[in-house]
Symmetry: C2
Subunit: 427 residues, 2 copies
């Protein structure tokens, strides 16, 4: 039973990173230092490049999967290899295994305090697609901007609506976010004005990382879709609502989203999430055949929260608590739909869930919904009010699964809002 597995490294009971998790990330000892692959264990990073160099991991001689600046090469080795490496790591790190436990010199080379290292993007993000798969979120947005009586558009219940995002501006947690500028259209003005965004928002999402590509023209069937997924991250799809409202017809959001999207540094594997499988909401109408799957275990029970810490606030306020299990469309359905017309996905692609909102206002995944487009501002514990994000605000998303004594967590994705640039032309 993996549940009983224990490491020789002490792991706090409320840690996101017990030996049952072992999420993958990319770290370096200095900001510009050499990047390599690590897994998180308690407060530590385990340097897999050292374990690999010492021959502790069954890897073909001469191959280097972990002395790499991104995880793409390792991920491309495929599901059975991921599984083997995970099993080998759990053995090496277990309390019962002497190799590493009793070898202090080696331990000094392999273990780094997480607080002493720099984390980087875990993958080269080869492509990025964002979905729109929370029924509650789509309904809320539809109520606000379209017709409350027909909040969901006709296609929403038939397919996982998605759109291409911008891969180049995906950044790792901790990266500052410069408030974007651009065209906004005020109701009082005939023409748009050039302005810093006045409605800067977050979107609470998760993302999954593609672990196996498909050739162009050959869709991934719903039965095989799970095997193409390496793992999951937390994802903040920063959004400039005022830019978005003006620009998005008829081809979708562009500058409102492409200025930055943040992911958590640790990729939690589907294998680690296995004990937390649950069912997604019942789908009505039943989807077309190519999207039809067994709904009893096609989702995960992942607690998600959002915290906002104002510039000079002592503490962060929890402003949303929700759960991944509310997602209407599963990751397998999203991936199958993505490829059904022939599109190829690639190892390292990021697929965003879309904003994850639950049924109650406290479980909404964006300020747009929480403050109902600024009509119901939030009051923070320091007395300040928020309709949208202000300069200096830090936004933190967290996620974890919990069952009896087992906690599998994602860590966090955070970002601080910096003031907009000054432009040297009249607006």
């Amino acid at each position: 039973m993996t549940k009983q597995l224990k490491s020789f490294i002490d792991v706090a009971k409320d840690s996101d990173f017990p030996i049952q998790n072992l999420p993958y990330g990319i770290f370096s000892q200095t900001q510009d230092g050499e990047r390599r692959v690590g897994v998180a264990l308690g407060e530590w990073v385990v340097d897999l490049s050292v374990l690999e160099a010492h021959g502790f991991l069954k890897i073909q001689a001469g191959e280097q999967f972990f002395n790499q600046p991104t995880l793409n090469k390792f991920i491309a080795t495929g599901k059975s290899h991921w599984s083997n490496i995970r099993a080998e790591l759990q053995t090496l790190l277990s309390a019962d295994h002497a190799t590493l436990r009793d070898h202090q010199t080696l331990r000094d080379q392999v273990f780094f305090k997480q607080t002493d290292v720099y984390m980087h993007l875990p993958v080269q993000v080869t492509g990025y697609t964002d979905f729109y798969s929370s029924k509650e979120h789509a309904t809320n947005v539809g109520c606000m901007f379209r017709d409350p009586k027909n909040a969901l558009l006709a296609n929403w219940s038939e397919l996982p609506v998605g759109y291409n995002g911008r891969a180049s501006s995906v950044v790792v947690s901790g990266t500052d976010i410069v408030r974007p500028s651009g065209q906004i259209k005020l109701p009082t003005e005939e023409r748009p004005i050039f302005s810093a965004c006045r409605k800067l928002d977050f979107e609470l999402e998760t993302g999954f990382i593609i672990g196996q590509s498909n050739p162009l023209g050959i869709p991934i069937s719903i039965e095989n879709a799970w095997d193409h997924i390496f793992g999951m991250v937390l994802f903040n799809d920063w959004s400039a609502r005022d830019l978005q409202q003006w620009e998005y017809v008829p081809l979708g959001p562009f500058n409102a989203k492409t200025f930055a999207s943040s992911i958590s540094p640790w990729i939690v594997t589907l294998e680690a999430l296995e004990p937390f499988k649950t069912h997604s909401p019942k789908q009505e109408p039943q989807p077309l055949n190519y999207l039809r799957e067994d709904h009893s275990s096609n989702s995960y029970d992942i607690h998600l929260s959002v915290e906002l810490k104002a510039q000079h606030a002592e503490v962060a306020d929890v402003i949303s608590q929700t759960n991944f299990k509310y997602m209407y469309w599963s990751m397998a359905q999203q991936l199958t739909h993505h490829t059904i017309a022939g599109c190829n996905v690639q190892v390292g692609d990021l697929m965003g869930s879309g904003t994850i909102s639950g049924p109650t206002p406290h479980s909404y995944g964006s300020l747009l919904e929480i403050t109902w487009n600024a009509t119901q501002p939030l009051t923070l514990s320091n007395g300040e009010q928020r309709s949208f994000l202000q300069d200096g605000d830090t936004l933190i998303m967290k996620g974890y699964c919990q069952k009896e004594n087992l906690r599998i967590g994602f860590g966090e994705v955070s970002g601080k809002v910096l003031p907009a640039l000054s432009f040297n032309f009249a607006s």
Copy 2:
């Protein structure tokens, strides 16, 4: 005068590739053979990796820019280096210069017949964005699907509308295109059906290739935008109109476009296009400051045509003739707008113009417009009719500039439509 420049290689008068052009591409001698950089000259490819290896190009010792499977590394060296290499190549290939002209052994290593080699994607397409910048096209689509009296949406005249495309499915000319399948919604049915696309279309576009990146958060000003552009290609943005109509609200086209997009193999540099600079249409209203530029020379006079060759037809029919100069928004405006909110572009990004339609039906850039959504089918010279593309059809786009005796051409981008896959589930 570059116009008088002549090569020791015979170049036909109607060739797209005189010594004044020298577009860059990636070729190999066998389908899976080693890829390297070449320029086109008349009927030949000039192997730059050999010239580089022999030290004929001023390149830092030990560096290899042309013994590469893509152009990204060379392009990343920047504008002044592109210019130097172009000048060196024109000297080496000129009729007055003996080095190569009089060295038959070397010539045998350097020149390959274009008909004897395989062409590949010229760049690793790091990102792909498509714009929507032809007023005639946007007006036609607006008339067909929205309100003919207000065909252009309010934002269209204020900003170059664009959306993120899918980079992984950009393919080189000559790649077969499998007819996509997916959800289509028939007006007679309550729910969508699963079907092969019944309204497969092309979109006549050009694309430009980013030659210089910008850091995340730092926009490219309109004054500097041209320096970030390496060159241009022909671009066919294949489109599944029926998939698109059902899926595109509210986040834009997805599967209707992501199944394939084809580019021509040769990148024509902006330097080669310089003699063909012209002005774009007058912009009314005048754009906001960040998009304002001198309109006297912000476009190019590029003749564009589309040919359709049915499976068993003897000849291809020219079904559209138009010109790049009709584009309302310039490439500099597109690029500046793309980055104004902070988005970073990368060397190797492809930026599509959007469908290029002219003022008359024979200058429309898609079958959707030419046949006015199948209400006015085309009759081909073999008697067959077309509303949209049929299996076996080959679609060919060509482009060239002409001024007195100087012709700078793009070659072509072509693709043949293959039948849809059979799926092993009931629709």
